[in-house]
């Protein structure tokens, strides 16, 4: 089963929740950081990295000797990665989304596949769990292509359950991270910012038709409107984690809450059980095999 830990707003404790779940999880597990712009999970799980590979996006490479300057590729490209200027066809690989259209179009064989480095994919182990993360190159503007490659790696050799630390927000990268999950866990906090962004996330992720539950982090601060909203919208609250300065300080030292603060361990075990319950309820057949 794939569980995506997401949040409409950044800084609600998504990584804390993912790291703590990974710490208490029983059975084979892969912990994945798909927040490739700002990957942080490794800071808490302290994985031993055994492989680090660059990831590339297919971009066109020009053989100017074969180019007849017809301009078809430049006219086709939606991203301005090709431009016909005077008697020169210019290629801007950093603009390319890797659709392959120009290469397929060119009748002269003047464009061939090359690569733009998107960032790195790191693999290793954190305790008993397998660990996988993507890290976007600074200056690289697109995160979905790297996320797709991390996910492809995940599919290639997945064993047991998967916990995905997703990018925050509700735009393209966030949806990209959760769309292949079986269950979505939305982490929020009981404040007006938390509520507002949580509503957007529920609106964005609900149409995916996957079981979705809330974790209310730092319960006790702010007000009770997130709980009210969950009740009205029919979103189950799978955990309420009380605000504690001890947890905040443990986090600041890079410690995992479920390990550093004894009473948190039980809360995360209960959360794990609820997540598994939701997965089983939505997919009884697969649960039987597990």
């Amino acid at each position: 089963m794939i569980y995506a830990i997401a949040s409409g707003k950044g800084g609600t404790g998504k990584t804390t929740v993912t790291a703590s779940l990974a710490a208490v999880w029983d059975g084979p597990l892969t912990a994945v950081d798909l927040d490739v712009e700002e990957p942080n999970l490794h800071l808490f799980l302290a994985p031993e990295i055994t492989a680090e590979e660059p990831a590339f996006l297919e971009v066109p490479v020009l053989d100017a000797a074969r180019c007849i300057l017809c301009g078809e590729c430049a006219a086709f490209c939606q991203y301005k990665a090709l431009s016909l200027m005077g008697k020169t066809l210019l290629v801007f690989p950093e603009m390319c989304h890797g659709c392959g259209g120009c290469i397929a179009l060119c009748q002269e064989g003047a464009l061939s596949p090359g690569g733009r480095e998107l960032g790195h994919i790191l693999e290793g182990s954190a305790g008993a769990a397998r660990f996988l993360m993507g890290r976007l190159r600074v200056g690289e503007a697109m995160s979905p292509p790297l996320m797709r490659q991390v996910k492809a790696r995940l599919r290639r050799d997945a064993a047991g359950d998967v916990l995905i630390d997703s990018p925050p927000g509700v735009s393209c990268p966030a949806v990209n991270a959760v769309m292949d999950a079986d269950v979505i866990v939305l982490v929020t906090e009981p404040t007006p910012f938390g509520l507002h962004d949580f509503r957007l996330a529920v609106e964005a992720f609900r149409p995916l038709g996957k079981p979705l539950g809330a974790v209310i982090n730092r319960a006790g601060i702010g007000d009770g409107r997130v709980q009210d909203f969950c009740r009205e919208a029919g979103v189950p609250v799978w955990a309420e984690l009380p605000f504690s300065r001890a947890v905040a300080e443990a986090y600041s030292r890079g410690e995992v809450a479920a390990r550093a603060v004894p009473e948190m361990r039980g809360m995360f075990l209960a959360l794990m059980a609820r997540m598994r319950g939701a997965a089983a309820a939505s997919n009884p057949e697969e649960a039987d095999h597990a």
Partner: protein
């Protein structure tokens, strides 16, 4: 390319309009034929609405207008490369003056062309 035709990034359509310091997301270009003193205006709105590649699109617009020289504030690396490929000369750091003043300065030889961009990539996004 005709070095006697210059394109100035502009906030409006005439010689009295202010120079737009941006290249890719300039409102438009006032195109001046130095020989005939005739001017025309090229709207750059299409480039402004692009998700990406505004600088490259703007360079294509300038080339299509037949200009051999561009006067602007900041030109990024991709736009610079595109303009250079078309043989268009670039004069940068032109700002805080009207299009007419910029053209006069150019005619008096007070503006020199650049051989490198003076703005970072992606500046057109702003």
């Amino acid at each position: 390319m005709n070095a006697g035709i210059i394109a100035v990034t502009s906030e409006g359509p005439g010689m009295e309009s202010m120079v737009d310091s941006r290249f890719g997301r300039a409102a438009g270009f006032v195109v001046v034929d130095l020989a005939t003193e005739q001017t025309s205006y090229v709207d750059n709105g299409g480039s402004q609405s692009m998700a990406q590649g505004a600088g490259i699109q703007a360079a294509e617009n300038v080339a299509r207008a037949g200009a051999g020289v561009v006067l602007s504030g900041f030109v990024g690396p991709k736009a610079f490369q595109a303009l250079s490929a078309a043989g268009i000369q670039v004069v940068q750091n032109v700002e805080n003056m009207t299009v007419g003043q910029a053209v006069d300065k150019y005619k008096r030889g007070e503006l020199s062309t650049s051989d490198a961009p003076n703005a970072p990539a992606g500046g057109n996004k702003g």
